[in-house]
Symmetry: C2
Subunit: 134 residues, 2 copies
């Protein structure tokens, strides 16, 4: 490889595409469990590929491929040290994105929970405290 790494080629998003298409591409890249997990792991600082690989329970190939997807889009950047490569998140606002998503999903799941409870226990029958007895 004589190209790509770090500051060389336009990070994919650079094409003359409508902004909504660029956003979609960005979300699509975040739309994989392993990649979400990678971002969560990188929340508290950079990590080597090996470390990530261990925590993700993935093999070397899979790990590299997911990291590659994130790096190509400019979400991650990397630093080489000896034989190891350390990855970090380029823009801290990326974590904000994850946080907002968590909030949205949390409310949504809570609403669903409440609804299930509602269905299981006829309305007006419940004591205070919502949760199951035990």
């Amino acid at each position: 490889m004589t190209d790509d790494d770090q500051a060389s080629r336009p990070p994919a998003a650079a094409q003359q595409q409508p902004i909504y298409a660029v956003k979609a591409e960005f979300f699509r890249v975040l739309g994989h469990p392993a990649r979400v997990r990678i971002l969560e792991l990188l929340r508290d600082g950079e990590r080597s590929v090996g470390e990530l690989q261990t925590e993700l329970h993935l093999d070397s190939s899979g790990t590299s491929q997911h990291l590659g997807v994130l790096r190509r889009l400019g979400v991650l950047e990397s630093r080489k040290e000896g034989t190891s490569v350390f990855y970090r998140v380029r823009d801290p606002r990326t974590f904000q994105l994850l946080e907002v998503a968590r909030q949205i999903l949390t409310s949504s799941l809570e609403a669903t929970q409440a609804l299930l409870t509602e269905l299981a226990v006829p309305a007006g029958t419940r004591r205070r405290g919502g949760g199951p007895p035990a």
Copy 2:
């Protein structure tokens, strides 16, 4: 159809899945140009399927399918009025998500722009004002 619409079945996200998988599913659903556009259109209030269809330049089938994906995951909810169906975004924080994404992408694109300029015009040669001459 005797099920599904509005407040009935657990909105997909309810499965006993790890939270990062739910997040990924959520992002994946946002990861399509037409769906990003739908959300942007719904930013200033609810719209009927027909209106969306017109603005998206999609046919009835495609429009319904994308709306279905978003509704099934609980991102949208709908209201029926006569023969029309109006959709709206369930959680306003969804717009915040789009906004943060826009910010991230904007910086990223600006950085890329700067870099291209840098490559085209040797460093230290530029006058103030960044942009191309005319």
